[in-house]
């Protein structure tokens, strides 16, 4: 790229205007420009609509086909199903009923292959949620069952350091 720079006038050279221009820029930045820092626990940014965050799971949409568990490359989706006779539209039908749908999120890499494999429309497991506060003080806290996966958004948000940092009892992992 060939660039032709304008010739500086003698006043600009003599009075070091370029340097003062720089000083002016930093001065303006110091007093008049908006700061971009977000003070995290007190202020939060709303993620974009395409943000890939935590799992969500819908019990109503799920047909218990186990395709997501098959697609999972590290096998961290645990599904238990039992068959049930149930009346649908006046006919007796054999249905699969979901007993257990757990994801061991502590090992998850959020590859979204389970979402890709899900045959229902809309997907019954998907990752485009706006939840990103996944940190935990105990690795066993990151094992979620289907109730937790379904109602993730109701979980309390991160508010800063806890009062005491004693390790919690293992929950959810049976």
């Amino acid at each position: 790229m060939l660039v032709e720079y304008p010739k500086p006038k003698w006043t600009e050279k003599f009075l070091l205007l370029d340097m003062f221009e720089g000083l002016k820029t930093t001065f303006r930045q110091l007093f008049f420009e908006k700061k971009v820092t977000v003070r995290y626990p007190e202020e939060r940014l709303e993620p974009a609509d395409r943000f890939r965050g935590m799992f969500r799971f819908s019990y109503d949409r799920c047909i218990a086909c186990k395709l997501c568990a098959v697609a999972c490359p590290i096998d961290i989706i645990y599904i238990d199903v039992h068959d049930e006779q149930r009346e649908v539209d006046g006919k007796m039908k054999k249905l699969k009923v979901l007993d257990r749908y757990d994801i061991d999120v502590k090992r998850c890499m959020f590859c979204a292959l389970c979402e890709e494999a899900c045959p229902t429309k809309p997907k019954s497991i998907w990752l485009t949620t706006k939840t990103y506060e996944l940190a935990s003080y105990d690795r066993n806290d990151l094992y979620f069952n289907m109730q937790e996966l379904e109602y993730w958004d109701d979980r309390p948000r991160y508010t800063g350091l806890p009062e005491e940092e004693a390790p919690k009892q293992i929950e959810g992992a049976e």
């Binding site: 009075l15 720089g22 930093t26 700061k35 971009v36 820092t37 003070r39």
Partner: protein, 403 residues
């Protein structure tokens, strides 16, 4: 009459200790101020959390704006492990951080903080000379520390620092000569009194003030002349191998030297503790008439001006990129020294030709002041006139893809 012991030993010591403590608080606060201002200039916030959870006797009292950083940093330095490299030259390694501290602290008893006699600790008629002599010894500690660390980066940093200090000591000293010729004294009190009776030396000695500003940045190894501690080339320069309190001593010496240079700048070019022109305004006589409160007011004015120049250091650091070493030497020897000599020459001619004839009515100085003020005004006008300089024109944008 006051006991001579009190007059010559106790009172100067007490005054020195008070001034020392105030200056050290400023130096400690500079750490926070620098990080905060740099942050604000770079569209960040800087350290704003330390002290939020501060509690005294079980009562929570948060320290605002992250000011707790001022206390937190020294505590951290004191509690850190002091690592001494096994191959270091032990005696020199320990002397390294101590040596620059002594001159940096001693100088504070020579600076006039307010109107005499109460606010001047040591009133000598060669005060300026003594300050210059003491501050220039600060480089020994840097060289010694750099060499004793037995580390090539430290050594390079120390050598660069030495070369830089030697080159910039010359324009630093020469830029003051113009002021000395105008005021006719090495006594900082006399220089300040001269300025309030005439005009701030900034205007007749604009070139001198500019050279002093550049040279004082170079003397203190501050950006854009921070080659001795250029982190992209030399890790951290001469204090690479220093940790904990020894590192803090280097920082303390650096910031103390910065404060001294700012004090000199204010006393020499910006009217010290007075705000006045031609004998009107806040003058020494007026402040002395108010007694101790006038003195305090003078000291506050002085420290405000000093703090402004400390901000200027940070402002420069945030604005200018670092020089290359040969560019630094070029600037020092080929531009600053000839410019300072030319300034001395012109000032000398003006003082001789126009000053001696009419002692009371200093035409030469008025002419120089008008020229200086006009230069400042022209710079500000060109800077704020609104129209940007023409942008670079792209001749062949697609040259790369053609090839």
């Amino acid at each position: 009459m006051i006991n001579p012991w009190m007059r010559f030993l106790v009172w100067p010591l007490v005054k020195f200790l008070i001034a020392f403590v105030i200056v050290q608080v400023i130096v400690a606060a500079m750490n926070w101020i620098e990080r905060r201002l740099l942050g604000l200039i770079q569209a960040r916030l800087g350290p704003n959390r330390a002290g939020q959870e501060f509690a005294l006797f079980g009562k929570r009292m948060p320290i605002p704006w992250g000011l707790g950083q001022i206390i937190a940093d020294p505590i951290k330095f004191l509690l850190k492990e002091d690592i001494v490299p096994s191959s270091a030259e032990k005696v020199a390694y320990f002397l390294g951080p101590m040596l620059p501290l002594i001159p940096a602290f001693l100088v504070f008893c020579l600076i006039p903080y307010g109107p005499p006699p109460s606010f001047v600790i040591t009133h000598t008629n060669v005060g300026l000379l003594l300050i210059l002599a003491l501050t220039s010894t600060g480089v020994y500690g840097i060289i010694l520390g750099g060499w004793a660390s037995n580390n090539k980066y430290s050594l390079m940093g120390g050598l660069r620092s030495a070369a830089q200090m030697v080159s910039y000591e010359v324009p630093f000293g020469l830029s003051i000569v113009g002021v000395l010729m105008l005021c006719g004294s090495f006594d900082l009190v006399k220089i300040v009194e001269y300025q309030e009776m005439h005009v701030w030396n900034l205007f007749p000695q604009l070139v001198g003030a500019f050279i002093f500003l550049v040279a004082m940045n170079a003397e203190n190894n501050r950006t854009p002349f921070d080659l001795p501690e250029a982190e992209s080339e030399l890790v951290a320069g001469y204090h690479t191998e220093y940790s904990a309190m020894k590192f803090a001593f280097f920082m303390l010496a650096e910031y103390s030297a910065m404060t001294v240079n700012c004090c000199l700048m204010v006393a020499l070019f910006f009217g010290g503790w007075s705000i006045g022109i031609g004998g009107y305004g806040i003058t020494t006589a007026g402040l002395q008439a108010l007694g101790i409160w006038g003195g305090l007011l003078g000291a506050i004015i002085f420290i405000t001006k000093v703090m402004f120049f400390m901000m200027v250091y940070i402002w420069f650091r945030a604005t200018f990129p670092r020089f290359r070493f040969d560019q630094l030497m070029d600037l020092g020897w080929k531009w600053m020294i000839p410019l300072a000599l030319a300034n001395i020459f012109v000032t000398g001619i003006v003082v001789l030709a126009l000053g001696e004839a009419k002692k009371n009515y200093y035409w030469g100085e008025i002419v120089m002041s008008v020229i200086g003020a006009a230069t400042i005004a022209l710079t500000l006008f060109l800077l704020f006139r609104g129209s940007r300089p023409a942008a670079a024109k792209v001749m062949h944008a697609s040259r790369v893809s053609e090839a």
